[in-house]
Amino acid sequence: MRLNPAIAVDNLVKRYGAVQALDGLSFHVEHGSTCALLGGNGAGKTTTLAILLGVLLPSSGSVRVLGEDMVRSRYRVLPRMNFTSPYVDLPKKLTVRENLVVFSHLYGLKQIRRRIAELAEQFEFAALLDRYYGTLSAGQRTRVSVAKALLNRPEVLLLDEPTASLDPDISDRIRTHLLDYQKQSGATLFLASHNMVEVERICHQVLMMKAGAIVDRGSPRQLIARYGRSSMEEVFLDVARAGPGKAVLAAGAAPR
């Protein structure tokens, strides 16, 4: 039995000069669950993701992923994690296969050819393997990028808006792949998203962020019930348009 949560964040603070990007964030994500970070632009989602990945140092507080401190010992856990974002590219002048081979080496894979073939079949891009990454459509790039994130069969997968700018069909396929992967591997998924349908469909827990703080949390069903709404989109709007910062819960803005 695993005693520690997959992700444990305690009293996390990040300041950029006078700007307070994160204001005492605390949350835990259990093994094998899916957690979404929701919030408007500038709420602190990307900052939180970057700290979870260890590429941004917090001003104070602690972040542990799979029991390891991401500030001091991130290299112990990075081989067991992965990340994908439409805002971070893969080299465009390499083919899909070359990109996946390079990252397979970075993650220390042994049977590289077999793993790439598995993912290409699963994500339906076998025909694209020898095409330059830069010539792919947005949907094809996302599939390759998610496949790259699954190369090392991560125990914790961090996703920054995994279906941003994709059509509903491709978005649905990506979500299905992620859920299948989670079912097979028991991995923990943590995503920042603006796609409320996605959040409702795949997340066990939602953290609502505003101005660098968590202003509400719960399962999508709990949040929808608490705010007396019919969808997460309406909940999101209630939170986004309520008063500043942490006032949402305290002021009892919901339910309506």
Binding site: L56, D89, K148
Partner: protein, 265 residues
């Protein structure tokens, strides 16, 4: 293959993939060393044919030029290997992978070595064919000079990569030009003794001046001066430590600012 070696191999492979299908990149690697060597080689040959005093100029000039190209190409290839990740907006993926900064540096060193060998190798071959001026006349000392100049290039490349990490692609031009600051005081084509006194003192702080003085010692006097080699090695150790320190400080600064995920065009 151990984890660390496999990651370095992966990063080298990334650049080899890029070169093997792009003849433009390969051509670019060899183009300037070859052009410089051809131009200066003929100039030197002209002088040599018109004065017995300067009969040794072709060997000195061509050898100096080729060794300078080792330094310049080594530094440039190192810095370009880093810039390539910014051009492709790939640094975010690299820094969230298990690739450690020291492994990234090791891969850039390997890439720089390969590119320098290709770039300068073509020019070396042509120098033999056109002027019968072979850099291999230096014999074994050539290996020591080559290694020292490459190491100096990597130390400067580390500093350039650090500045790019700090200031983004606005600092890109440094990769192309910064090394030329030390060209006039490195004694590539003339002895350091022709410099004004205070500049000679500056030159003594550069490993390159020891290498080029050593080169002249071998070509003119047929003597390998160990003291010059030790001077170059000691100074290189200082500059590499300094370069690595600046690189790590810039990396930590980028982690403080959150610049690693967004860094790119």
């Amino acid at each position: 293959m151990s984890g660390s070696l496999q990651r370095i191999y992966g990063m080298v492979l990334r650049h080899v993939y890029l070169w093997r299908r792009s003849w433009v990149r390969v051509l670019e690697t060899a183009y300037w060393p070859t052009m410089n060597m051809v131009l200066w080689g003929f100039v030197a040959k002209f002088f040599a044919g018109n004065s017995s005093v300067v009969a040794q100029v072709p060997a000195l000039l061509v050898t100096g030029l080729l060794l300078w190209e080792v330094l310049f190409r080594g530094q440039l290839a190192f810095a370009l290997a880093f810039l390539e990740e910014l051009y492709s907006r790939n640094l975010g993926h690299l820094f969230v992978s298990p690739l450690r900064p020291v492994e990234l540096i090791a891969s850039m060193v390997a890439v720089s070595f390969l590119r320098t060998c290709v770039g300068v190798g073509v020019a070396v071959g042509l120098a033999i064919a056109l002027y019968a001026a072979s850099i291999f006349d230096l014999g074994l000392p050539l290996v020591a000079y080559f290694a020292n100049l490459l190491v100096t290039g990597w130390a400067v490349g580390l500093m350039v990569a650090a500045l790019v990490m700090r200031y983004g692609l606005a600092a890109e031009n440094l990769a192309w030009g910064v090394i030329f600051i030390i060209a006039p005081i490195s004694g590539i084509y003339y002895p350091v003794s022709v410099l004004p006194g205070w500049l000679q003192n500056v030159a003594r702080c550069l490993p390159t001046s020891y290498v080029f003085e050593g080169m002249r010692g071998v070509l003119l006097e047929g003597r390998f001066k160990w003291d010059l080699l030790f001077g170059a090695v000691a100074l290189n150790a200082v500059y590499v430590a300094l370069g690595a320190g600046i690189f790590y400080a810039a990396f930590r600064g980028a982690r403080q600012r959150g610049a690693l995920l967004q860094m790119g065009e």
